[in-house]
Amino acid sequence: MTTVHQLVPTISPRDAVGNHTLALRKILRELGCESEIFSMFRHKDLMADTHYVDELPGDTDVVIYQFSIGSPVADRWAQHPALKVANYHNITPMSLVGKWDGLLAAEVQLGRDQMARYAKLCDHAICDSDFNRSELDALGYKSTETIPVLFDSLNTRSDRGTLAKLERDRRGTQVLFVGRIAPNKAHHDLVAAVRTLREVHNDDAHLHFVGTDGPPSYRSTLNGIINHAGMRDHVTFHGSVSQEQLVSHYMAADVFCCLSDHEGFCVPVIEAMNHDLPVIAFSCTAVGETVGSGGLLLAEKSPLLVASAIHRVSNDGALAQRLRQAGRQRAKNFESGITQEKFRRQISNLILESL
């Protein structure tokens, strides 16, 4: 039996890379491979289901490394004699995190360094987006291709309690963003935009942030800005939520707005499209290619422009409807069945190559 194992620095549920790694293991097993996940930091819920990195067998045929941060795990992968495959999810540039989180800055710097060092060692690289792929191509990776990240399209039911509460509290336009509270996600720009929306368009709008906390210094900055802007009663941090609660948020919102400065793919955009939520996004890094023709792409993100875009979408029923339809159509490109098939085909080729 062919062995195709995965190495990942950290594995945890409710995390895009973690979910992807688990989904990929399922595909590998369905292909008849012996496949396990080896990681340095394992979430307690996944302890029984994964292995510590030291246990990676030396006689593995293919080792896939899930690349999204700097880690000593990358060195284990690089030293392994198996066919080496990198699955690249992008690494946030240090310039975007350095001021906020020194430890994270050190990790991303190491990640970028490892990414450059292992260009010649890597036999094949699978990237979430063409944007990610262009980074590896520029570093001289010899074989690269784009296959989107594997994610659950949230075919789960909504949480009724959450939905009822969100509906009960709604007044003006409900703007949603889903993502870790981190500087590269530019939550502060969303606060400025919604504040402008409230003032310029007299919209009693409310901003909902769903996602885990990132660097504490960024969160405190964000709190300072929210207070300064008089937005304390108009911004809600919901934190990390269950799948069912997340669906409720997508259902209750009027607009999904993403003003991130750096994304390697941006799964929440597709989730929003899947739930008929019109998407407005600042077109940068991989966001533009993920949104594609399924949403409004802004070339800049001045608060007035973003506020005008939100106002237009929430007041133009025909436009909102067309955005919903186009979004749903766009999301079909990323349906798990299609992506799984692409992985199946590629992994089968790699297995043949390794034999």
Partner: protein, 323 residues
């Protein structure tokens, strides 16, 4: 044409319409520019500025936290038998684990001590570097000599009447800075303008209405909307490009809607003909052309932007009304 192409084209048209709408609103003054400037300022205020220092500090704390090794192995297990077995093994091997854990913890402490020393040393070097940074500027002395020879704005430049007309009827305080001699201030006060001056020079701070302070420092401590108008001068000839732009930014932030703005600036060609090519090279970026100030003001949607020259053609006066 495919559906997705048709959607993409339609959405692009909509975005173009939205951009035009945003521009229209900006032009008609609906844009809460003052609010957004203050949000920008707030963001700048909160951004941590000693990232590397914080990073090292955080890293050391992380090592310190991680270097404490807990010898009490967790006992949780899926079966009671497993849990009991773990308990027995822990009891039997506790003396060994505790011995090992203590040594690892001690190692961690010994690693972090020199790291803390290195961190303190780096912080000290950074502090010293920032202090000597100005001294490392080899042309600083030459520049300060050149700047000292730049003449100051005075009431005799034939621009007072325009200033009086511009600030007549303004209700609220008007700031004049940098002020180097009080004649212009006195003249405007006599004409009923509620004006005060800010000067970095102790010699010029001769009256109650003249505060001795660096203009930017003074503006940093001023409340938003505190000013009904301002006359920016002095720093426009002497300050670095960054200082000039920062002063303007802060003045805009501290000015209320509809405030009157005036900028007095030497004509670069006149100044360089007076001071020669050395000044033109070493005082690069000062003064800015009047066209540049007009551009900066129009970018902020100021209206009625007018440029006037002093009677001796040495100065330009740019007046405008803020949105």
């Amino acid at each position: 044409m495919s559906d997705s192409q048709s959607d993409a084209d339609y959405f692009q048209e909509v975005v173009t319409e939205i951009e035009l709408e945003a521009r229209r609103r900006a032009a008609t003054g609906e844009y809460p520019r003052e609010l957004l400037r203050s949000l920008d300022e707030e963001f700048r205020r909160w951004i941590p500025d000693a990232s590397l220092e914080n990073g090292i500090e955080d890293t050391i704390r992380g090592i310190e936290a991680a270097s404490y090794v807990d010898a009490a192995v967790p006992l949780e297990s899926r079966s009671p038998v497993g849990s009991f077995t773990k308990w027995v093994v822990r009891r039997l091997t506790y003396f060994y684990h505790r011995h090992m854990a203590q040594q690892i913890t001690a190692l961690g402490i010994h690693i972090t001590r020199p790291l803390r020393l290195i961190d303190a040393s780096l912080k000290d070097i950074n502090r010293r570097l920032s202090l000597v940074e100005d001294q490392l500027d080899v042309s600083a002395a030459a520049r300060s000599e050149l700047i000292a020879s730049v003449s100051h704005l005075s009431a005799s430049e034939g621009i007072e009447e325009i200033l009086v007309k511009h600030f007549r009827g303004v209700s609220g305080r008007v700031l004049l800075g940098d002020l180097f001699e009080p004649s212009a201030l006195n003249f405007l006060q006599n004409q009923g303008v509620d004006i005060y001056g800010v000067t970095p020079s102790g010699e010029a701070a001769t009256a109650v209405d003249i505060q001795q302070a660096e203009l930017i420092e003074h503006l940093d401590h001023l409340d938003n909307n505190a000013l009904a108008g301002f006359i920016l001068c002095g720093i426009t000839d002497r300050g670095s490009l960054n200082e000039q732009l920062r002063a303007l930014r802060l003045l805009l932030l501290r000015s209320r809607a509809g405030a009157r703005a005036a900028i007095v600036v030497s004509k670069p060609e006149v100044l360089s003909s007076q001071l020669g090519p050395v000044a033109a090279d070493l005082l690069q970026g000062r003064p800015l052309h009047s066209e540049t100030w007009c551009y900066l003001l129009s970018r902020e949607n100021a209206s009625d932007i007018t440029v006037s020259e002093s009677s001796d053609s040495a100065f330009c006066l740019i007046t405008a009304t803020l949105p």
